[in-house]
Symmetry: C2
Subunit: 347 residues, 2 copies
């Protein structure tokens, strides 16, 4: 595999061993390693912690680059910010780096709840943290944020799921299926037994194109955003931005994450009762869908936040749609920061 | 090939030979046949003609079943309704039925403008029609409707593009690309040289799933429409409705239509100047996007109709999204009828 998942490209991050992690689907990750990047200092009261889980294909690096900084909501001078890379994301234990016989195509199925339990163990055992000032994440990070708030209601003081839902919709489930299909339909994927990502380039190109459809919005293209971002044509954008982004990633890692994303569902903790699950949340919660998001649209988030006792809907306006998360629209980042500052200011 | 494109399933329709059709991309369809279904009677003044072009994968049959009837806007007691199946759609000359050496994988590229010129020849030469009371069509039928209004402004008195645009957007172009990819990525497609649709079932299933994402809407699933339509689960719906619908269709026919759809663009008639092209329209025009359409959304239609001198935006509300065209939402059909009656009542 390439050195895409390296400290050079995605560091600095630390690999922390949390021991064996028994998974909801029945598997076990032995010696599960979480790739963790921290910013700022844990105060004596241990009450200045912000946890940031990561999204599909994203790592702690883009969180650092686009969301953390002096004067920002996620300010390392005020907070101890812990960014934990999700399992399967390529930095933490993932199909492509799992050392045992269950690596690669034999990697076990992982759920959002597994990630959250793993992060909980990390924070409590390794850092002695018992309270979280805020959990915030985008997309699959938003799914993990909801999972945190439902699973550990007494630990999470504030929650901000951005462009994510508590229970994945049927529509988004099928979208995930079409994404997986782009890769698994490539004969070179070979049921997961390829030798390098480069071999699966046709599937990864199809995967990139589908993201070009669902990740942005029709307005994104209508308003010439690809040109604004420095691309000379649609082909140039698709090839050098979208494919360029996904091409070095490991197909099995992507599939591991997609499977998990498709099945995000906090109601599993309450026998399928979503209202009961969301009713458990004690955190002050701002859910922030993106106005032009095609698969975690405002309507889906609005429906859920109505079930959260102390919840509020804050729509982020951006024609960048779901991939506004990339941070290419400065006005989007300003809205995120403003909302997070409001949220952090609540008692 | 199966007998899917038969008179039994899609008739009655008549095959009319319009002679050789020279195509915009340089090819020629020799002895081009148009499959035509007519309803009602041409009056003496020949001024009661409604032309209905067809959409991607649809034929004259669904127009007959869902849109034509006594008391409906398209009333065969009042109008002579001519439904012309698009080239490549399976009934008219198409890759799978083209008799010459340019059939199958060698079928030439066809554009929306080619269809419209073919229909024009049919109406003028075969029926002696010089005025159209209305051109109305959905999706690719909407693209053809716009093409008609721009290309033959003196012939089209009224136009109603439903869920379609005059110039396809970049976003929709990429969506079309991902649709084509679902089929062409199937090794059994064999560059178009398969022996039967059944061989390409894996590609056609992926194609069906992508339609399940983009064709409906998240609200469609959220509100349990698959169950209302008689399907017991998402899998049941995907397999027995979506795949069941597309599985018998010819992959090269679908690809022929998709290529054409992706490149729909009336501005080609005015050197790429969309405002100039739409400014030529003399027809009273109602554009009717569907509220929840994911690839011909209201925003794209609104932008265009502002450039049509006598144009009006009439949004059709349906959580069925683009595939509201199928007619499974009675309230959608009522809105279409009401708008078409309003339009037909204009002088």
């Amino acid at each position: 595999m390439s050195d895409y998942y390296s400290q050079e490209l995605h560091g600095p991050y630390e690999l922390l061993d949390i021991g064996d992690l028994t998974l909801e689907e029945g598997g076990t990750i032995r010696g599960c390693q979480l790739a963790v990047a921290t910013f700022g200092t844990l105060n004596a009261a241990k009450d200045n912690v912000i946890l940031v889980p990561t999204w599909y294909s994203g790592t702690s690096k883009i969180i650092q680059q686009m969301y953390i900084g002096l004067g920002r909501a996620l300010d390392p001078e005020k907070y101890f910010i812990v960014v934990v890379n999700q399992i399967g994301g390529g930095l933490s234990t993932s199909p492509h780096n799992a050392p045992g016989p269950d690596g690669g195509s034999r990697f076990p199925k992982v759920r959002i709840g597994d990630d959250v339990r793993a992060q909980h163990r990390l924070l409590t055992d390794k850092f002695g943290i018992e309270k979280l000032a805020l959990v915030v994440g985008g997309s699959m990070g938003g799914q993990q944020t909801y999972e945190w708030a439902v699973r550990y209601p007494d630990m999470v003081r504030r929650a901000a799921p951005i462009a994510g839902t508590a229970r994945n919709t049927m529509h988004d489930l099928i979208f995930g299926e079409t994404l997986c299909d782009t890769i698994t339909s490539d004969p070179a994927w070979s049921n997961g037994d390829y030798r390098s990502s480069a071999e699966v380039h046709r599937g990864l190109m199809r995967h990139a194109k589908l993201w070009a459809v669902m990740g942005w919005s029709t307005e994104f293209y209508q308003h010439g955003r690809p040109a604004q971002l420095g691309f000379s044509s649609l082909d140039d954008f698709i090839t050098n931005f979208m494919f360029g982004y996904f091409a070095p990633m490991d197909p099995n890692d992507l599939l591991c994450m997609a499977w998990k994303w498709q099945r995000g569902d906090v109601s599993r903790q309450c026998g399928g009762d979503l209202a009961a699950a969301l009713g458990r949340i004690k955190a002050r919660t701002f859910v922030m869908p993106v106005s032009h998001d095609m698969f975690f649209p405002p309507a889906d988030c609005e429906r859920e936040i109505a079930m959260v006792p102390n919840g509020e809907l804050r729509v982020l306006n951006s024609i960048d749609g779901h991939l506004a998360l990339f941070g290419a629209d400065p006005a989007f980042l300003q809205q995120v920061d403003r909302n997070l500052k409001d949220l952090l200011a609540t008692g």
